[in-house]
Symmetry: C2
Subunit: 200 residues, 2 copies
């Protein structure tokens, strides 16, 4: 790689540091940017800086927004009685894409993970508590990922909310739609069996 100029190498390294981008892709992306018209490359760089400057967390739900309070928290069309707790802003997008859920969200920006040194106070659980003063709230949906950390975080929050007497639910576990039983992993199949639903 002696033949690669320093600034190009640096650009490749920045791309390679992004999640899911390997050395080869980083190289391809860096070369692509060099081949773009000057103003398009500048626009790309500017969009990074602009997004960083404009975007912060909603004062209420902690989702990314460019306002003080995000559109979902501000909208009177959303059902204020339900809060869906998710790990990251990406999960909010996943739910919004469904166009089914009409409640609000709370974004934790992480999951409790003692092994990685992430304690409850390192994620946005504290910010959830003042929201629960609102007597209009009837249900909290725990929608963390079905991983060890996701489960642990959901359990922690469920225990924390117990004294408040709120209805706390979590997403159903089971076989994914369109999947095949034969290829479903044992843990999932077991969950699907445990949580079987009466059809009579």
């Amino acid at each position: 790689m002696e033949s690669v100029p320093v600034s190009l190498k640096k650009l490749m390294e920045h791309f390679a540091a992004l999640p899911g981008i390997g050395r080869k892709s980083a190289q391809r992306l860096a070369f692509h940017l060099l081949g773009l018209p000057e103003n398009e490359a500048e626009d790309f760089a500017a969009s990074i800086l602009e997004a960083r400057k404009a975007i912060h967390c909603c004062r209420i739900c902690q989702n990314f927004t460019d306002k003080e309070i995000c559109d979902i928290c501000a909208s009177s069309k959303r059902d204020g009685s339900v809060i869906c707790i998710v790990e990251s802003p990406k999960d909010v997008l996943a739910f919004e894409r469904l166009q089914e859920y009409r409640g609000r969200y709370h974004v934790l920006h992480g999951l409790i993970s003692p092994l990685d040194g992430v304690a409850p106070e390192d994620i946005r659980i504290r910010e959830l508590l003042p929201r629960l003063q609102d007597t209009g709230i009837t249900e909290i949906i725990l929608a963390t990922n079905p991983t060890i950390q996701g489960e642990a975080t959901a359990m922690y929050i469920a225990r924390l909310l117990k004294p408040l007497g709120l209805k706390v639910t979590r997403l159903a576990y089971g076989i994914p739609m369109g999947g095949e039983l034969e290829y479903t992993d044992a843990v999932t199949l077991n969950k699907a069996l445990e949580n079987r639903v009466d059809m009579t």
Copy 2:
């Protein structure tokens, strides 16, 4: 996607416009950049602008460089009698990784493709001609990709160089090492048979 702030959407679109990055990956990358420490995101943006400013094409071989003449063209350790003609700077990297080839390069920055409106004068063929005045040159290796456009470009250059009486070669076609005959496509297998090598 109504809940996505404009500047975040713009950042996602920039990522999605990169080769091999789909909507989902673009979203993940944009969110990742928002989660980085402020200075790292700024560094990323700066590295794009810096690379664009510093990098241009070598006056001789047209490969990317931050100097007037690239390291390979400037190095006295490289064999000036052989020029390997490739489509793009990525191909130079592929050859350099081998650490076998010691000649120099010529980067076309594209392939002739009449259907896409790319004529011979749209790629860096013109820049090759003055290099051939050098009487020290003994061989031109055509190393374009084995695609229709790559073949057409190689044929065009071979014909162009014919009057000069230079030795013009191209990369061997055949079965890839470690591949299996059973899964080799018919065209490749045919080429391998045609170009079979005497082992006695």
